[in-house]
Amino acid sequence: MTFHHDATRVPSRRRALQMAGVAALAAVLAPRLSRATEAQVADEMKALFGGKTMGEGKIKLDLPEIAENGLVVPINIDVESPMSETDFVRSVHVFADGNPLPQVVTYHFTPESGKASASTRMRLAQTQNVIAVAEMSSGALYSAKAQVKVTIGGCGG
């Protein structure tokens, strides 16, 4: 009888989940990563934006509801703006409130950028909120938030 090649050690949570006949995503690792708390993320954002109120709208945040691979979760951000000399998006910051280091990326734009649009892939350690904050040339701030589930699937149908 052949045993699983990992039979001699206590499996990681990831291994355990995969073994269950269901999927597990790579980022679900044991020992558990320390995660930022929501309060830490709030503090970090306060340090950056000085507690200024943030408007809603303007940002279109494309993220999968459920990540297919937590190591490389696609994100696409589009901010509505004329991108003129007097009215443009200065920067977009992305935070992931369940990662050990919640600040994922910051994009800087100029009117020459033409449009405020960016795509990348990021690692997400677990199910969490991804928050994008856009800083406009006027100083106004906008934010958008989406939850991404980083977990196992059902034993699909």
């Binding site: 052949t2 045993f3 073994m19 269901v22 699937g153 034993c155 699909g156 149908g157």
Partner: protein, 564 residues
Amino acid sequence: MISRRDFLAAGTALASLLAAGGAGFAQAVDTGKLTEAELLRFGTPGTFTILHLTDIHAQLMPLYFREPSVNLGVGAARGLPPHLTDGAFLDYFKLRPGTRDAYAMTAQDFTALARAYGRMGGADRMARLVKAIRAERGADKVLVLDGGDGLQGSWSALQTKGEDMVKVFSALGLDAMVGHWEFTYGADRMMALKETAPFAFLAQNVRSIEWQEPVFDAARMFEKGGARVAVIGQAFPRTPISNPRWMIPDWEFGIREEDMQKQVDAARADGADAVVVLSHNGFDVDRKMASRVSGIDVILTGHTHDAMPAVVEVGKTLLVATGSHGKFISRLDLDAKDGKVTGYRFQLIPVFSDAITPDPEMEKLVAQVRAPYAAALAREVGRTDSLLYRRGNFNGTFDDMICDALLKERDAEIALSPGFRWGGTLLPGDPITFEAIANATAITYPACYRNTMTGRQLKDVLEDVADNIFHPDPYFQGGGDMVRVGGVGYAIDVSKGVGQRISGLTFLKTGKPVEADKSYTVAGWASVAQNVEGPPIWDVVERYVADTRTVTVTPNSAVKVTGA
């Protein structure tokens, strides 16, 4: 050769059950009407006719398939079809207990009704119905569409990597299909099958990871009855999560709602009179999608195996649910003209194998594709004293048998078995053939692992799978049922949030709580990890059944459900 059953005799059987004090059969006298002509009876034909089959899981022969008696809806879907079972289902759709529809669509009085009404499905019976409707309407007015999970689920499909089913679907005159389990033959095999098939394989929501290029054609325009009918494919969006991602490493899925809207708009711009989505999203996901994507006339739903005798309307979109395993064919006639659908008639046609004459050509083809495996399929391994079925959110007796096999044959304390919704039902007294075992286990990643897991890890597994089924937002659900457990019991509150649903995990052998930090020996199968080692599940189950000879499954009371 199966002879046609005399349904008056069936009526008599029910009458005698009633006389013997059996409940619920008072209305069963109408079984005398069960003829092919009656099954094919339809109202006014439309501009064109859609015939929909889905989730037949490569079942070529008629079989028993018991619908679930537990199928809970959460969030907005709570208490709505398809999350109604037994009496509630019958009440909602105004059906009577003991009737052919009650037998076909619910679990109520299943064993008695199965003995009266017989097996359902069979490719030769489906072919007979399809041909009859084509003859009635004219081939230029009929569109035959399969909603996926058609090429997987039987021994011959597994051995031929889907080829037997491509032959059958070709002979059936299929126009297009979508996919889910098809992808578990691997990306290369999937593309090879697609290249050889005379029908279209459509999926708007599959992209190459690197370049985000479409892997399949998103849609195809058909001319039927003078109308332009756009069919857009939607593959199972969670395939790389629910099934091994390593088998399709370069493909990315997802619901891709905005891309769906673009496809609908493109179809309209191309002059479509009707826009049909051939979907493997699952019913609740389709219901949500219908409320958010505009301009879809029809969604032919799949994946969640729901059978409903009426269309569900969401705004202007019609949702059709055709069940599974070849038990049904849906007929939907649309009146379509000048870019608009102005009317429809719908019939969920139950495929009663004893009432329908097999189509001789399909019968021959089925015998031919099964011939190389005939001896293996017919091998009687043991018998069952109990009704063995799969469906139900938390357990099924067939799965209980699989868990018992895992515990015993792999000498484990705890067994885990995936909550697949496919696999036939066996009646008390039936033989357990190798075919019946394969019908519930024939997958491309069948290895039975044996490992250790702590109590905490076990709880994590249950919580994560539970969230996949009971997340209130259908876009966060993945389909399938709860992972089946052997050796442990638990309580679940389906109304709670992620990580909060499972409590009272109990190790059944001792009656003591499962300890978070203690390690337990766990056996299971269908791991989505790569390079898993262990014997294939069908060998493990066969050994267990052969040793046991007559299988008896006691009702499972190890899972306590609240919050429904």
